[in-house]
Amino acid sequence: MAAVPRRRSGAGVRTTGTRGAGPYLTYLLPAAVLFTVVIAIPLVMNVYTSFTNWTGIGPRQWAGLANYRQLLHDSEFWASMWHSLALIAAMAVVPAVIGLIVAAALFDVIAKRFSPRVASLLRACIYLPQVLPIIVAAIVWGWILDPQYGALNVALRDVGLGFLARDLLGDPQTALATVMAVLVWFQLGYPVVIFMAALQRADPALGEAAEIDGATWRQRLWLVTVPQIRPEIYVVLLTCTVASLRAFGWIYALTSGGPGVATQVPSYYAYQSFFTNLDVGYGSAIATVMTVIIVAVSVVFLWVQRRHTAGDTT
């Protein structure tokens, strides 16, 4: 917290800037300009547009709350919001739970009783989908799940289970669950890597003490490990939740929101309103709702996290 010295001793000291934080502010200048143009102005324009009717060409017509009123009665919008919850489950909750178990098993069992090298190798393989561009991963899955020539159905037919083969992405009953399964595959590596790093930071003595006291593996995981790595669990849940609300690429390449609206999500719905339906005001309203939800979720997460970490230290 050392303050910037205002007077310098010694002669012949050449300095730029002699006052407190003033000169430091100049370093924020490029960012101030760029953030205003790329983030602040578009954000305000988007909110403004959501109160207008606009096709993207010509003048905007003030519409008040009409777009939002329409949203309230739009079953496709509500469907997309519910599907967002499903995607949060698939990208945040399920990977965090499985990731915790996998990370703990790799750390406690594989690294200690077999070899840390095997644990690193398995971790690297599980993380591999995370480095793929989403669109590439989505194309690969689209091909695997293709009803006619896709590898999954071909494999089922090859082993005599052809009656199980079906058009998973084309059937409204199974489309969302299939997308969710693919997302779990994609996302799992992220919590595994974060949690393994967290476990290395955590105090091993506590777990060993609990083991000597006869705690089962599950008890140790929930009562000793989880409280120790709580900050990382918050971060994983927050970043994965935010990521799941941006699942545009997956929906674009896998289902286009279909069949019907079975896999429609706000992100894709906004894109369609902007660039396909040319209903820019309505798309802006959807995007504004998304923005408000994401900002609210982030603020709540950060607040809870700060409270918990503050509670730990005092």
Binding site: L25, A31, A105, Y127, L132, V136, V140, V154, A287, M290
Partner: protein, 300 residues
């Protein structure tokens, strides 16, 4: 967690330190331990299946695919699928565009992050908590909420369908994260170093370039790698902004082709291979940085 970034400690170090304990445990490889290993190997193999399928089919002759399907082992080496895809999408061009955009963004975004973090982390300008909060929120904002006004502004500025527009936008988006991360790293920067440099008569700019930047080089390296890969993988904004073929990045070129539903299984696996290939290369080159730096999100 910012410590993970600044330290050079390899991941296994913490385990190696407890070697005696490990040797003791190694003798207790009971059936439960073997079952755990088996379960994890099964999970890992399941994760790898799609990669195996790409590898199996990218070079498979079409006749064999038609006769024996995606699971048969290729009996020939056929590059037709890949070369068809390469030519129809002008893939070389897309690769170059991706390298150009990601390369510019990662350098510019790191520079911008350094400037911001210097003022916020070391300069401790007034209201820095709020400014940092704003950067963090900016990083979380959904691109859907910015895309149409940006599209509009770019059209007015004559930057629509240019790489420059995408470079500017992603420089700002990545720098929002970089600023947040780097500020918390620099707020623990050793004050003695700054004092010493100041005593020697160095000005603010000189201290930044000669002291702060060299000392935080490991963190900057992680940021550089991350910004490059994140920008490489971006799809939504490049899809909106880069409409003409000669400007498209790899994901956009792949995505628009998929959107046209003109892909057959062999071009799909060829395309997937070409799409996967660069990122696997990055992964192998940066593997240690990635697994070390993936925890950067968990800055407190």
């Amino acid at each position: 967690m910012s410590g993970t970034l600044t330290s050079h400690r390899p991941a296994q170090h913490g385990l190696a330190r407890r070697r005696p304990a490990r040797r003791r445990l190694a003798q207790r490889r009971g059936p439960a331990a073997w079952l755990t290993l088996l379960a994890l190997v099964v999970v890992t193999l399941a994760v790898l299946v799609p990669f195996a399928l790409i590898a199996l089919n990218a070079f498979k002759p079409p006749a064999q695919y038609a006769a024996h399907g995606p699971l048969s082992f290729p009996d020939g080496f056929y590059t037709g699928g890949i070369s068809t895809f390469w030519d129809t999408t002008d893939f070389g061009r897309a690769l170059w565009n991706s390298v150009l955009i990601s390369g510019c963004v990662c350098v510019l975004a790191v520079l911008l992050s350094i400037f911001n973090a210097y003022a916020l982390g070391i300069g401790r300008v007034k209201g820095r908590t709020w400014i940092l909060g704003a950067f963090l929120i900016a990083n979380f904002l959904p691109q859907e909420g910015l895309v149409y006004p940006l599209y509009d502004l770019a059209k007015e500025a004559g930057l629509y369908d240019t790489q420059l527009a995408v470079i500017i936008i992603f420089t700002v988006i990545q720098a929002a994260f970089g600023t947040y991360l780097l500020s918390s790293v620099l707020s623990t920067f050793p004050r003695e170093l700054l004092e010493a440099a100041r005593m020697d008569g160095a000005g603010r700019a000189r201290i930044l370039w000669r002291v702060v930047v060299p000392v935080s080089r490991p963190t900057l390296g992680v940021l550089l790698v991350f910004f490059f890969i994140w920008t490489w993988n971006e799809f939504f904004l490049p899809l909106v902004f880069l409409v003409s073929n000669q400007n498209q990045t790899v994901p956009v070129a792949l995505g628009t082709l998929e959107g046209q539903h003109i892909m057959n299984p062999l071009t799909t696996s060829g395309a997937a291979l070409l799409g996967v290939f660069p990122t696997i290369i990055f992964f192998l080159i940066f593997q240690r940085t990635l697994t070390r730096g993936v925890t950067v999100g968990s800055v407190k």
